[in-house]
Symmetry: C2
Subunit: 348 residues, 2 copies
Amino acid sequence: MIPTLAWTPEGVRFIDQTKLPLEESYVLASDYEQVADVIVTMVVRGAPAIGVSAAYGVALGALRSNAKTALEFASVFEKICARLAGTRPTAVNLFWAIDRMKRVFAGLHSSSASMKQVQERLLAEAHAMYEEDIAACKTMGAFGGALLPDEGGVLTHCNAGALATCGYGTALGVIRSAVEQGKRIHVYADETRPFLQGARLTAWELMADGIPTTVICDNMAASVMRAGKIKAVVVGADRIAANGDFANKIGTYNVAILAKEHGIPFYCVAPWSTIDTATATGDAIPIEERSAKEVTHHGGKQLTPHGVGISNPAFDVTPAKYVSAIITERGVLRAPYAESLKEMELVS
Amino acid sequence: MIPTLAWTPEGVRFIDQTKLPLEESYVLASDYEQVADVIVTMVVRGAPAIGVSAAYGVALGALRSNAKTALEFASVFEKICARLAGTRPTAVNLFWAIDRMKRVFAGLHSSSASMKQVQERLLAEAHAMYEEDIAACKTMGAFGGALLPDEGGVLTHCNAGALATCGYGTALGVIRSAVEQGKRIHVYADETRPFLQGARLTAWELMADGIPTTVICDNMAASVMRAGKIKAVVVGADRIAANGDFANKIGTYNVAILAKEHGIPFYCVAPWSTIDTATATGDAIPIEERSAKEVTHHGGKQLTPHGVGISNPAFDVTPAKYVSAIITERGVLRAPYAESLKEMELVS
């Protein structure tokens, strides 16, 4: 299994996703500040993975504290949570994970627990989220894998794989499950500029699993679709609004329009923790703007003329009308999503 | 003016477009083989520019020959034309230019001209094509500039600029003309993977002219459109079929679909030499597949895992139904293009 992140006695060990695929190296984050840094610098990325990473960051903050009780730790706890919540704005899983840790701590705080209890319970909660994430991916994989064709090309954008989760992946979990079901899938991976998660990460992890993969530039998707090579599109999500609009890696909206134009089903695959019913529509999702240097430079080499204007939003919003189904671990949702999301929330 | 290519007593001097924007260096092609090489390696690129380059290549072939008469030169002439025609398959301007040189030579051959006459007439024909190309760009610019809004964003893909022609540009000529007409245009330039003609060349030449430009990754186009920032799209063409389908840089078809989905006019700008009425539809246009290394590497650095599948078509075909108008130096054509193209061919 791909070790996206792993708890060790010294802290959280992350595979360095900025160095893949040519270098497989690891970064150890031994305190919560270092966890915040690996999230900001995208050593770890992917909505589910950064959620669990933040949870471990909170647990590490407790483990490294000299406080004696939950009461004494409370103000530092708030500071730790604020620091981790400030790392990236778009993926709601980050806030979901921190909120979950806050609820656990609130119980300990109100019962005046010892620091040892705080440490144990926060770490246990992070471990639980880690295990739940992998289980959710497997379940989504089974649901989504059944929707894929028996054979043919499936296009994916960015990396919604094992590297974006604690293992198995969301969109790539669906592909893995289809392959395990005996389906003959050929993956077309958008390279996904500017950070190249598709060319670097999706290609790397699918090759490791022996799943046939062709990397294409983002701008080749339409011609591959027109050639009849794509039977389905599967992507992940960073935040799904109450009406089914969703934010995901920049370029997802492009792919959604192209899929619609070619009559190709377009599936969004994400754990329930990605759903943010407090956000009414996609227009209300905050979109992170990242450094221009991600676009202007590669491998230390400048691509663009000095001083040219650059835009680098890390995400875009795909309106619900382009989405054939939202695949979660609770089940497969269909439009109208405002209703199906509310229904499934009540049932589960 | 940007010196894309220039005749000198020693041969054809090309600005090296593989080195822009950070290095402004020049390559001198002193015989036809060297001209073929600069076309293959994309030191010069852009359909109109490679057409005129090939014409100069033919003229250079005559100038470097030891033949005494047109009759003696004939078999070498055929070899020169075949070599230049074999450089790139998609842009029809290349074949149009060589055919034009062949017609000139056929007249000289049948009149048993001296080699001096052959050399003079072939060079004069190449010079004429050079001048005509710039004049055509200015005329297209005037026609197209009138269609652009008084202010707002205009998106372009690849480089259909001065660097793709002998000067002024096709799509960028339209933008230049609009700006000269006092329109306040902000250009959004798709970076255009894998060769980055937008990030490198379009950005460079527009900045040189002081036209406000923002470079975006190809996959950001849909979100910029959805934000209401794009009032029109202008692109060039490498070959326009008899029904109005056209081949252009890979990713043009993506942009065409996105423009349609957002109700944005989409203009194709190309000289008449790009129209190939012998090709019935876009499906019959040969699409060049280029080296995988253009996708897998940048600046000598490998991006993708070893051995992953790669697709690298240099062009795609945009069906005529996405095209709001085809802007040529003979006038602005509207759908149905099969009829308007035929009509304008007969009139002119």
